[in-house]
């Protein structure tokens, strides 16, 4: 067997003060915070209580959807009220199972590879998510990121009050948090990356020098095309094989949407 040295692992010096900020729901994983809540609801002690909470969650989905469309602040207030009375221990213990059963199988096929590429370039990795910190922690460990910024539930005597600690990690606040983070860690935002799937995260894309739309919704895809931002589709299953792209008219339509 021949033996050759590995190729030189050069890291361009300019990336030493750079960070990559990733939204999580819809960007790195296929599911969102409602899935996590439904998981907790379905695993409530007592069969009847569990069924009751699952039905209640299902019925609330249209309300959550409408609130999210109108205002992320309203959505947070309505949605996180559902956690009121939950014990801190139970939420943390179930978070590991939530990760293994729900989150891990729903990580986009190319998400980990993207983070690996970014780490290889010497860039600091940060998850910035509107989900709850205890649900995101196992994912952050699995992906090997440097920092996790996410929402925190308020607890009194180890029981959730149904309110979030401020500031809420959402919308324009994400951009503020990123600015503060950059200042605290001597990060140059002009040389940093942000990845998100949703138009509602436009502020976090606007504050970095390298915004990238990941599996974008229609509005963000249009915006990315207008601003000439790269568009990544992390949901395409790619090993050595290449996913077949639609041909002809179908391809044109797909590219436009």
């Amino acid at each position: 067997m021949h033996s050759y040295p590995h190729r030189p692992q050069g890291t361009p010096p300019k990336y030493r003060n750079s960070a990559a900020f990733y939204d999580v729901d819809g960007t790195l994983i296929k599911i969102n915070i409602v899935h996590a809540f439904a998981y907790y609801a379905a695993r409530h002690p007592g069969l009847i209580d569990s069924a009751r909470r699952s039905v209640k969650t299902a019925l609330s989905i249209p309300v959550f959807w409408a609130a999210d469309k109108l205002s992320r602040k309203w959505f947070n207030e309505i949605f996180y009220r559902s956690y009121e009375g939950a014990s801190e221990d139970r939420l943390i213990v179930l978070a590991e199972e939530l990760f293994e059963d729900v989150i891990k199988p729903n990580i986009y096929p190319r998400a980990k590879a993207l983070i690996e590429e970014s780490k290889r370039a010497g860039i600091r990795q940060v998850l910035i998510s509107g989900a709850l910190d205890f649900t995101m922690r196992p994912l952050a460990t699995y992906l090997g990121v440097d920092d996790l910024i996410s929402n925190k539930l308020e607890f009194v005597d180890h029981y959730a009050t149904g309110k979030l600690e401020k500031p809420f990690v959402a919308g324009a606040t994400k951009a503020d948090i990123m600015r503060s983070y950059a200042k605290a860690h001597s990060i140059d935002l002009a040389e940093s990356w942000a990845y998100t799937d949703s138009f509602s995260d436009y502020p976090m894309l606007a504050v970095v020098g390298h915004p990238t739309a990941c599996n974008p919704d229609f509005r963000l895809r249009s915006l990315a095309r207008s601003y000439d931002w790269p568009v990544l589709d992390l949901d395409e299953e790619v090993t050595r094989s290449v996913a077949r792209r639609p041909q002809g008219l179908a391809r044109q339509i797909r590219r436009r949407t």
């Binding site: 067997m1 021949h2 050759y4 040295p5 590995h6 190729r7 030189p8 692992q9 050069g10 890291t11 361009p12 300019k14 990336y15 990559a20 190319r110 590879a113 993207l114 590429e117 970014s118 290889r120 370039a121 860039i123 990356w193 990845y195 390298h210 990238t212 095309r225 000439d228 790269p230 568009v231 990544l232 589709d233 395409e236 790619v238 090993t239 050595r240 094989s241 290449v242 996913a243 077949r244 792209r245 041909q247 002809g248 044109q252 590219r255």
Partner: protein
């Protein structure tokens, strides 16, 4: 009985036509459309040679080459049961347009794979040697290698090269000129590598095959820089090309380190045939049928939307035929390839032009099956490839004016060319100086994790590829005094690249004469198919 031989050429000077008062207007490509324009009296129009007669039995020619190689043992004598073999194959960037099936690479692969199996060689991988080009889609690979090879090897033993895979690349060493040589790990660890090349232009093949097709970004930097381009006079004249010299140095190290058997194929220039064969004719020789065909085609193209026109052209493969196959050691094999290729493509021309006119078609090596020929690729076709289609002396004299026809629309394919978009809109609007771009921006694009991810797992060209494309036009930019675009659908895009616009060929010629004088010699290169002008 004597074989009936096709008529080769009635007039040895038929490839050059001088426009007279009663000459027909000339057809020029303008992206996904054609235009027909009258040229000034006295304009010299250079046509490619007629297609050479193909080999009667391509499979037999391939087998003969494998069994009678240049400065090497025959392929069968190099095979031992149980050995580890890699087959590297040229990617879809050549020929242009894509050729009809069976692709010549399919014919070679089928014979080679059969020979390997017959000799008990089972550990065989086929690697698409794409360098830093985009990964080929699975349907493109299938079309290129054919059903038989596809069924046998895809996807575990037939795949795209990945120049950014930290575990998949190794360093072979440095040349005496301190040029780094990286190599695909599988190839480096094989007992034998067989390179299957489709040689379309003289700058390809030979040492470039292994040194570029299977390299990484850091070793490509050795020759893909502005100085190398400026000092290549021209790309298409290997003895006078800096690029070729650098490929040779890297190739020598590869040959010294690895065991490589090269197979090179040469095609004729039958770009269009059947109903489109009139596009290869001298317009003065058009029949009424040819004129009707052109008018019908033009009428339809003028009315079809851009995407439909593009789709039609992309789905119209060329009728190229194999005219030779050589095999063996890299240099003697490539020398024979180049000689045959020159026989087909070189046309003798006396004297350089002051004003050079060329139509830019819809295709380049980097936009096969893409959404558009983006402005950077228009630039690389004009100032890179077509400007360099000469040997001995430039076809456009230094300080001359280049006139080209293309809409130069602000269209990019975001899947294939994502970093081109940033390059064109951000970097090129800050500076057009290649040397500044090389030092300030190239590594930034190369190591941008989004672009690396898109290159490795998507279907995007490498992040630094648009920089190379801009350098490719550096000599042309430095040696021409003006570039005038006819038929541009906007003024902004040409202006970013430092080009002027004109409404018609007549207007462009008037502008060019303002620089070059009333007696300026005007030449039009009538391609595709391309030709290489041997200028004396």
């Amino acid at each position: 009985m004597r074989a009936i031989r096709p008529k080769l050429r009635s007039n040895p000077r038929e490839h050059i036509v001088t426009i007279d008062n009663d000459s027909a207007p000339r057809i020029m490509w303008s992206g996904e459309n054609l235009i027909m324009e009258d040229l000034p009296v006295g304009t010299r129009v250079i046509y490619p040679n007629r297609p050479m007669t193909p080999v009667a039995n391509p499979q037999a020619a391939i087998r003969y080459a494998l069994n009678h190689p240049e400065a090497s043992d025959p392929l069968h004598a190099m095979l031992k049961p149980g050995m580890k073999v890699s087959i590297a194959v040229d990617d879809i960037s050549m020929p242009l347009p894509i050729m009809r099936t069976p692709d010549v690479r399919q014919m070679v692969l089928e014979i080679v794979c059969e020979m390997l199996a017959d000799h008990g060689v089972d550990d065989v991988h086929i690697i698409i040697a794409l360098g830093l080009h985009r990964r080929m889609h699975d349907w493109e690979i299938k079309r290129m290698v054919g059903q038989k090879v596809w069924d046998e090897y895809w996807p575990d033993r037939l795949y795209n090269h990945d120049g950014c895979d930290p575990d998949g690349m190794v360093v072979l060493g440095h040349t005496p000129h301190k040029e780094l040589v990286e190599m695909n790990r599988r190839v480096a660890e094989s007992d034998l590598t067989i390179y299957v090349n489709l040689n379309f232009v003289p700058m390809n093949g030979g040492n470039k095959s292994m040194a570029v097709g299977l390299c990484g970004y850091e070793s490509l930097k050795a020759h893909h820089h502005p100085k190398a381009i400026v000092e290549s006079n021209s790309f298409m004249d290997p003895p006078k090309s800096y690029l070729s010299h650098s490929f040779k140095r890297q190739g020598d190290l590869v040959e010294k380190t690895l065991k490589v058997f090269h197979i090179e194929t040469v095609l004729n220039n039958r770009c269009f045939d059947g109903p489109l064969s009139f596009l290869q004719k001298n317009e003065d020789d058009f029949t009424e049928t040819d004129r009707l065909k052109f008018q019908g085609m033009k009428w339809a193209l003028d009315r079809l939307p851009f995407a439909a026109r593009r789709e039609i052209f992309m789905r119209t493969p060329a009728a190229y035929e194999m005219i030779a196959c050589y095999a063996g050691a890299v240099d003697p094999t490539h020398d024979r390839t180049i000689a045959k290729q020159n026989e087909q493509n070189v046309v003798p021309v006396e004297g350089a032009a002051d004003i050079l006119i060329m139509g830019i078609p819809y295709i380049s090596p980097y936009n096969v099956n893409s959404k558009a020929l983006n402005p950077l690729l228009v630039q690389v076709m004009a100032l890179g490839y077509f400007y360099h289609m000469y040997k001995n002396n430039p076809i456009l004299r230094d300080g001359g004016v280049l006139i080209l026809t293309h809409p130069v629309s602000d269209r990019f394919d975001p899947v294939h060319h994502p970093s081109y978009i940033e390059f064109f809109n951000r970097i090129l609007t800050e500076t057009t100086d290649s040397y500044t771009i090389e030092t300030k921006y190239q590594d930034e694009l190369a190591y941008n994790p989004s672009y690396v991810e898109m290159y490795r797992r998507g279907n995007a060209y490498h992040g630094a590829h648009p920089c190379f494309m801009w350098y490719w036009g550096q000599r042309g930019r430095e040696k021409t005094s003006r570039v005038i675009v006819v038929g541009a659908d906007n003024a902004t895009v040409p202006a970013i690249m430092g080009w002027e616009t004109a409404g018609s060929i007549a207007e462009a010629v008037a502008m060019a004469r303002g620089t070059m004088g009333r007696s300026a010699q005007i030449t039009m290169m009538h391609h595709p198919p391309y030709m290489i002008c041997d200028v004396t």
